[in-house]
Point group: C2
Chain length 604, copies 2
């Protein structure tokens, strides 16, 4: 069966179910019961129904139409994925609820829309319910609408869970539980329900591999002030972990009984939950005799501020990663010089292999990108073994990759020159670099919302009429998710996005010229205190990533003296930190690529 | 009776009323039935009860405590105003609901809080109601709680209403009504209720003088698709205006009958109203058989984008204002040179007098500031005739003033050197100037939310550890309010703050050194299209204000060449536009103060 025929058959089955259930449409959110960034295949209903496998994008299916709603990262990719399937691609900008608008215009008053209440978040679900209600359309989450439709649906992941060793984790489980319970008591909560896997992994100092790229395990938890229940599939925990959890007051329950435990809360309970990180079915399970306190998970804010121990570990991890780059790029450049042609996927694999030599390495932290020329203009392009572009001729190679290490999570993007590159390319790289430097050097008052800093990185590109259609950066977990809130450089200003010291995040401005080339330069940084000069506490950034920024791609005359000084100082740091760990060709490469700009001939 | 004794007596009367009504507290919002920026004295209950007369700040009174909640502009001023009255000043940062937190901690479950439903906005009132409810405290708006307490309460203002002449207004009333009704139909609304005085004045091309500084008249309106009711006190409109309104389908009704008209809406009505600009009592008057469509007023967005006609008028108005500055400052400097001492209030009066010589001038647009040295460090200081500081000795004079003209509303701030000034002062002025220039020169994609640009102006000051505790700028009306949404440079990113071309706003970074001096430089600018270079529509700014920035207050070595070029080009524009209109001493002054930096000796 061709992919196109398979998709057609699945849409037909959905429409049959719509008729049987008397519904006009099915809404398929791009989410699972844990509102994870990467979905286990069991919950990849949208990919199964559309063939579009991007990391985000809702879907709606009526009796005669179907649509995918994707943000700007995926506009081009989604069009390609659903070509000739009859599925429309609706472009979403700035979090507009296009799915709501589309459903309201496609349906009539009195119609109803099905959704799986166990896989749609409270915030998205409530907004959709209200939006539809204003057009007299009902949102129904009575039972899983894919029951009887998705016959070969994958099972729950069952990978084993392991301890995050205390030497890496820093704080122990009992201390973390106490920190969260302190916040519960401050809010007058008796219980706290958690579905978000990053919070659970952090809180319990446990890790797993149920999710691609993220060291998470599938579970829910219900904390009381004097104990906790962990809802997790059997067979995932070893005896040692079970005993350790028991010692910390954590009781094990079946994964499927989490919402029932909420239903059984005694009268007078005050249960804290985060509507952005809990599904509608969980929220709805809380009985009327209990009070829901809607607030962000305390652990989200606590873990966003890394401890000194964690920051020290991340500095070590960056050395591990930097050494891998020196080894990979020295081999890559040597090989290019001999005329051997590499493929994008091969680069991706070779970097992963160099990273894996570190004893601290666990897995990649996302689907890495090695994108040559026009492929680099698709911000979330990933090469596949069967479709890789050969790195042949002249142009820019964009590499975006990262790792999960026991001592932190990494994410780095660089562009490298292949053969001869043009000054138009160098100009774009220099502008992205100017954006990176502008924000990396910035100071700002403690408490500034992270999104408010976005424009500082964009301003040098805006001045040339250039913009990039993604955020300037994102918070990053500690051996957890590579994208973690609440600190995003871009998007709406949330009440929790106020910056404090110890927040680890990326800065990654870019320039994307469709069908030509793409540029992005990305570092991981941590906020650090600056001297108070009479206007209150100020913060600045310390760059953590240790990887040369290839000066062959830069037009030095576009940089002002302060920018040149920043770049030279950065390269001196990279060289000093990595030098003790590399030798031979890797060291020669590092020395060459970290030459100060002032010592180089202009252009090449 | 001393002020302190009077306040004590008023608080006692409130507490007596609390006991009589069985309530635990009174909440007094800083608002009126029109949610105006400047309140007619009839609705200045907070000032009457506390003695603090700032433009913003809620108050709460319990049986044994009282508190004022003020934003950073008023922290120092409010402390002074309520000293020794027993009223606490609670400092509010970033729109935190401190009043809610304070009430919840001061009261007990089961208590109730009174508020006047006719003077509290839907948004503020609903948020307060929910916040209190989560602590089992009830918000009651059953009847005006100051009835029987405020015995000498001022009556409704009764100033006459006048036409905004069509030559200045541009669009006529029928066209504006049609534009708004188009938006009503797009939203499926049958009615539209308006209480906001800027919207009403714009929509009807009428102006009044019921409000200080704003050319507004007190009224509500209920638009249908084929007619409109204007609720306004009798005797304010002349026969000609009544006839003109009648011709445009506008029926006159008594001011007090507005909420009753909402109650009388027929079944099936769909009434559009802006919860940020309508009071709770109006929202509550809509019957259950009608649907409320909550959205921002269409007129708010329409009038924020000035027409080409309006922008041309504003350019003319800026010449009128610039001429007044040349005349005032040339006299002022000449007089200073002869040793005569001026008072701050005298400066304020003299500038107003020079402005008033323009045939287009109507009134000042706000309480202007002339603040010498330490007074300049209080961002909203205004001199009074009885308390004015004499401009004597050395230091910085900060002047912030603006006018209502038939062809637009102005707002400008400059600092002037008196005697010898220090390089520390010059450094602060130069940093504020760098902030102004950075944003004035910026380009950005069409649709960028205005608050996202805030950091561009702050970055040069942040780099030196300096911040200012107010927004970077605000939208400004066209012979309307001097502060008009939805475009604020700062604060939360609202869905309506996306910038389009033709938006007129201020940029006004500052440096405030408490008990030393204050610096602020403010221009009015308009957004203009920039060339599309392949990344979509871009915008930039054109500066409209025509007033020299005194280069004697600047350290030229702190400016980079692009900043010097901006300043020299600005001064060339100021000189070219004003030169045909000034002569004699005013011209000599203008020529001297608009010399390019490159032609000057460093320092002085």
């Amino acid at each position: 069966v061709s992919k196109r025929a398979a998709i057609a058959g699945r849409l037909k089955a959905v429409r049959r179910a719509l008729v049987e259930r008397g519904a006009a449409a099915l809404f398929v959110p791009s989410s699972d019961p844990h509102l994870s960034e990467y979905l286990p295949s069991r919950w990849q209903a949208r990919a199964w129904l559309s063939g579009f496998e991007g990391s985000a994008g809702h879907m709606a299916i009526t009796r005669d139409r179907a649509a995918l709603f994707v943000d700007s990262r995926y506009w081009e990719i989604a069009e390609q994925a659903v070509a000739q399937s009859g599925i429309e691609v609706v472009r979403v900008l700035r979090h507009e609820p296009q799915h709501e608008i589309w459903l309201c215009s496609a349906l009539n008053a009195g119609d109803s829309v099905l959704v799986d209440g166990a896989s749609i978040g409270v915030v998205l679900g409530e907004a959709l319910r209200k939006g539809l209600a204003s057009h007299a359309i009902e949102l129904r989450f009575d039972a899983d609408p894919l029951d009887g439709v998705w016959l070969d649906r994958p099972a729950l992941p069952r990978a084993p869970v392991f301890e995050h060793p205390e030497g890496h984790a820093g704080r122990n489980r009992a201390e973390k539980l106490r920190l969260v319970r302190d916040r519960m008591q401050m809010s007058g909560a008796t219980h706290h329900f958690l579905s978000s896997l990053d919070d659970l992994a952090w809180l319990l100092n446990l890790r797993g591999s149920d999710i691609d790229y993220n060291p998470f395990f599938i579970a829910h938890a219900l904390l009381a002030l004097d104990g906790a229940q962990l809802f997790i599939a059997g067979g995932k925990l070893g005896h040692a972990i079970e005993a350790a959890l028991h010692a910390d007051g954590v009781t094990l329950r079946d994964y499927g009984s989490a919402f029932a435990a909420l239903s059984a809360l005694p009268a007078g309970s005050r249960v804290m939950l985060d509507p952005a990180r809990v599904v509608l079915a969980a929220r709805a399970a809380v009985p009327d005799h209990a009070v829901v306190i809607e607030t962000s998970n305390p652990s989200t804010l606590i873990k966003a501020r890394k401890t000194d121990h964690e920051i020290a570990q991340i500095r070590e991890t960056m050395i591990e990663e930097g050494v891998a780059f020196c080894r990979f790029y020295s081999q890559f450049e040597k090989s290019l010089a001999t005329g051997r042609v590499w493929g994008e996927y091969e680069i991706h694999e070779r970097i992963a292999a160099e990273r894996a030599r570190s004893p601290l390495f666990v897995t990649p932290s996302f689907a890495s990108t090695a994108a040559f020329n026009a492929n680099g203009a698709l911000p979330h392009y990933s090469p596949r073994p069967d479709q890789q572009e050969q790195i042949r001729g002249d142009g820019l190679l964009l590499v975006d990759c990262g790792g999960q290490y026991l001592g932190g999570t990494t994410d780095v993007t660089r562009v490298w020159p292949i053969g001869q590159i043009t000054n138009a390319m160098r100009r774009d790289v220099t502008l992205a670099l100017k954006g990176l430097i502008a924000l990396s050097r910035a100071s700002f008052p403690r408490g500034t919302p992270a999104p408010a800093l976005d424009a500082i990185a964009r301003a040098p590109l805006w001045a040339e009429g250039i913009d990039y259609r993604h955020g300037t950066g994102h918070g990053i977990g500690y051996f957890l998710g590579v994208h973690e809130g609440p600190h995003y450089l871009g998007g709406p200003i949330s009440p929790h996005s106020a910056l404090e010291s110890g927040v680890v995040l990326t800065i990654e401005p870019g320039v994307y010229r469709l069908e030509q080339w793409g540029v992005r330069i990305e570092n991981v940084l941590v906020t650090v205190p600056r001297t108070d000069r009479g206007f209150g506490d100020f913060l600045g950034f310390e760059t953590l990533t240790l990887c040369p920024i290839d000066t062959r791609c830069i037009l030095p005359q576009m940089l002002d003296p302060a920018e040149v000084a920043w770049l030279d100082s950065y390269h001196a740091t990279v060289r000093d930190r990595l030098a003790p760990r590399v030798d031979g060709e890797a060291w020669a490469w590092l020395r060459e690529r970290t030459q100060p700009l002032c010592a180089q001939e202009p252009g090449n």
